[in-house]
Symmetry: C2
Subunit: 226 residues, 2 copies
């Protein structure tokens, strides 16, 4: 499948690398490829600059958001939550129309320090804001409840015995995402229902962050025991 | 231990019954015992009236909130979240001072239908509102992330292999609550930290409610796999 991953941070790189490994044709989108590739310093999280990752993944092209989205059958929003709507506007409404738009972002507001609060919650969600802004995209929320390393390698904790969630209004689009998740090793994917259920999974972030603090690792996962 | 459970709904009854079974001295508090006992109809959830449960638990006295709280070393707030502050004011600040106050309630707002929203969230919590209103109580948040039947019988799903959380500012009070949880069969209790971490567990309710909808049962539990 032709997949565009928007976002060059850890989440974008990790998903793009794994999906390419699984045989998909990957393009990564960014605002300005030249300036993304020109960076030579680690980012705020200590990750090496994109150019290092690019040199290790020569088959994955880096293009402006719009070019990436235009070529993708499935578009992954792996940009930071507070920049997602801007990035998707740059990707372009017509380039997203009819596409499965897998949103893995979270509406985290770090402006008051750590832990972040949520800039949308409870009676609305970032997933729904995106869907309203791009009504012809087929929005699916998933994977936002785990660290990047577990999105693509769920076996890394608990032998993979834990749960991923999907939310969305388009059953076929959700099916495509569930297939993708299963291809990455997710064995328990719960369909929570329509896209408004993304409010619930976005609201998992606060407990995820507190658990990371209490346990001292982001390698933790929710399992829904029933 | 002398334990006062405030609230006569399913949560209060279930906790009071189990804690009495474990050998604790239980009193249940309500606003007006006579009117609680006078009800003959099932409640809005279809539960039998309190008098039926009372007749099956003759050793557990029903008293006004203040009398119950006055006699308890540990007080459980099992009232509905939207009535908790009122109930605790009736219990009385002096009757709560120095006591472990285990808050199992959730700030659910059903005024706009189902699913409910949260009337406090993200940057504050009901647990913290209660603590600020009763600064001498030793507040602990726990058990609010599961249905009543699993609070007292965690083995009922997944052989009990799932997680409970505690939040609180007083380490000794948290220790008392953890002991109580373990005595009821909880084997994995994660101490998330101070009482502000209750924001995170109260924000689990939306996903809990969506999961109940998707799975068709409240007998579901979060396990933190790590």
């Amino acid at each position: 499948m032709d997949i565009a991953v928007l976002g060059t941070g850890t989440v974008g790189r990790t998903l793009a690398g794994k999906l390419a490994e699984l045989g998909h044709a990957l393009v990564v989108g960014t605002r300005d490829p030249q300036s993304t590739l020109a960076r030579t310093e680690p980012d705020a999280m200590g990750n090496p600059p994109y150019s290092v990752w690019q040199s290790e993944h020569p088959a994955i092209r880096l293009t402006p958001y719009a070019e990436a989205a235009a070529g993708g059958e499935l578009v992954v929003n792996a940009t930071g939550g507070d920049g997602s709507l801007d990035a998707l506007h740059l990707a372009g409404e017509s380039n997203l129309a009819g596409k499965v738009l897998l949103d893995v972002s979270n509406p985290l507001d770090f402006s008051h320090g750590f832990p972040p609060s949520l800039f949308v919650k409870d009676t609305d969600s970032l997933a729904e804001q995106i869907q309203r802004a791009f009504p012809q995209a087929r929005g699916v929320k998933s994977l936002n409840t785990m660290t990047a390393g577990l999105m693509v390698d769920p076996g890394r904790v608990g032998g993979g015995d834990h749960t991923a969630f999907v939310s969305g209004d388009d059953a076929d689009a959700k099916g495509t995402v569930v297939d993708l998740l299963e291809s990455m090793g997710h064995r328990d994917v719960i369909d929570l229902g329509d896209l408004s259920t993304a409010r619930a999974t976005e609201m998992l972030l606060p407990v995820w962050l507190r658990l990371m603090g209490a346990l001292g690792t982001p390698y933790l996962q929710f399992k829904i025991v029933r």
